[in-house]
Symmetry: C2
Subunit: 134 residues, 2 copies
């Protein structure tokens, strides 16, 4: 009953180096789908910076590098926020050359919490419109 995201891990510890990932040498720990906890997901989404990241990833068609999401904080803080999102199970991260590509774990989240991510994204968009004077 483990849903697999393309290029997303499903085992408990780290991404296994079985397939020929293009120039992949380091692997990142991701929680297994069944280990994702609602409280941690909500906590991860409760930060403005991280919510911005998630919205960017949701709007993007392909994977996005960390440096492609501009945040008004330092590089190390950006790294920190991406890690929180990954450890909460909200995003998956894969090394690709000197970059780290990020993608939403939509399928996993929808399997566990149907409609939740969609409603949060819609709520964020609605609030942005409302605060911008509509």
């Amino acid at each position: 009953m483990t849903f697999m995201t393309p290029s997303a891990p499903s085992s408990s510890t780290a991404t296994r180096p079985d397939s020929d990932a293009p120039a992949a040498g380091r692997y990142l720990e991701h929680p297994a789908t069944e280990d994702i906890r609602l409280e941690e997901v909500l906590h991860a989404l409760a930060d403005p910076m991280r919510l911005t990241v998630v919205r960017e990833l949701a709007a993007a068609s392909a994977e996005v590098a960390c440096s492609e999401v501009p945040l008004p904080v330092s590089k190390s803080t950006t790294t920190h926020h991406f890690r929180v999102l990954r450890e909460a199970g909200v995003i998956c991260q894969v090394y690709r050359g000197t970059s780290k590509m990020n993608g939403l774990r939509r399928a996993d989240l929808d399997a566990l919490f149907p409609g939740l991510l969609e409603r949060v994204l819609a709520a964020a968009a609605a609030q942005e419109d409302r605060l911008a004077g509509k």
Copy 2:
């Protein structure tokens, strides 16, 4: 465009003493509907204790006193969590005698973030079932 919950505040500062509230002498500050922020709501819901409280309130038919929601923490900590929920705009609180009655601000939240609360409650229920071995 301000949605009114029965016995819920709508102005910015505190509940107004206009109607004949039964034995009401103290009033509590609630955020106006338009001042509720998604990030604060998510943060309020991200705590296990507070999520428990919200689920209890959602399941209850009428208003619930603070002492009717048993939490494995002290009284003062319980008070703290109820205040966080109130200040985030998730619940409304009214003094009634020696008790403080609590109710979800469902209408306000649904007006701002349609379907969000429902999805969070469903997600919490789903996770509980899943972790209990289904």
